[in-house]
Symmetry: C2
DNA sequence: CTGCAAGTCTGTAACGACTTCAGGGTTAGA
DNA sequence: TCTAACCCTGAAGTCGTTACAGACTTGCAG
């Protein structure tokens, strides 16, 4: 295998992606099927590399695969207004902010619960106690 | 159906759980199979109610089902040391803290990206640009 | 008592974003 | 030439549910 051919393994290494994940992206229709070698190996070109880098970066930023698909579709339409891109990003930012808020209040509860633990027996454990809310009837 | 029998629907309502979720918990072995009525309906007792409340509360605090299982096993052993409970809670708290840290830095990136958007055409969109990292070679 | 809507039953498939596995074929390098 | 490392396909597993489909049971109104 010559040094020039971008096999799936090389593409995986170049993008920090799992080989299986790349095949999964192809099956999901987010990464176009590449050419094949004589031996039926996938043979990627630089456009694939760029596209996969885009996907990975967006995924790292927490965009869903559907959002990434939308962003890719938009980015292919260079003349279109950027507003739709802005929308997707802002919706996502709000989701992230909501998750942060939820997790912070959750951690506050965990802090309280854990701080109350005197580490005796389970019978007097405050953590277990806080998990067993009194029957409200 | 008499008012006394705790059917799956009543249990669901009493705990804010979906009926399907309760059946799923039974199949997962986290909620013991209840008695059955003549007509093969599940018939829960107060112990089931308490256990399901425990599960829901722990799930709301973000514990995984495996962690909940472990907590339940520990809480059944009233004489044991509470240290194992403390451990599970602390491991989980660290996970939560890690997620918060990740999300906060992620939101910072999203803020920067979105702020840079001048909302022209996609061709000059800074959001798309930040998603297309330069080939590092 | 009949009829029917609402509740319940089992089993299976779907979600999202992968990961893992089984059972092969291909290739690079020694 | 050998063989280890790579690659192929297709299916199943992960987590924590949710959503069916198609049948059965029950509560209640008329």
């Amino acid at each position: 295998m010559g040094g020039k051919v971008l096999t799936i393994g090389r593409l995986a290494e170049a993008t920090g992606t799992n080989v299986e994940t790349i095949r999964f992206y192809e099956k999901s229709g987010i990464l176009p099927p590449p050419a094949r070698t004589e031996g039926n190996y996938r043979s990627y070109d630089p456009a694939h590399l760029a596209r996969l880098r885009f996907i990975r970066r967006a995924r790292d930023l927490g965009f869903s695969l559907d959002q990434v698909k939308a962003l890719l579709r938009l980015s292919d339409d260079q003349d279109q207004s950027c507003a739709a891109v802005d929308d997707i990003a802002k919706v996502h930012r709000e989701e992230v902010q909501r998750k942060i808020t939820d997790l912070v209040s959750l951690k506050g509860e965990l802090d309280r619960i854990i701080d109350s633990c005197r580490c005796g027996t389970v019978a007097e454990c405050r953590i277990i106690e806080s998990l067993s809310p009194v029957d409200p009837r």
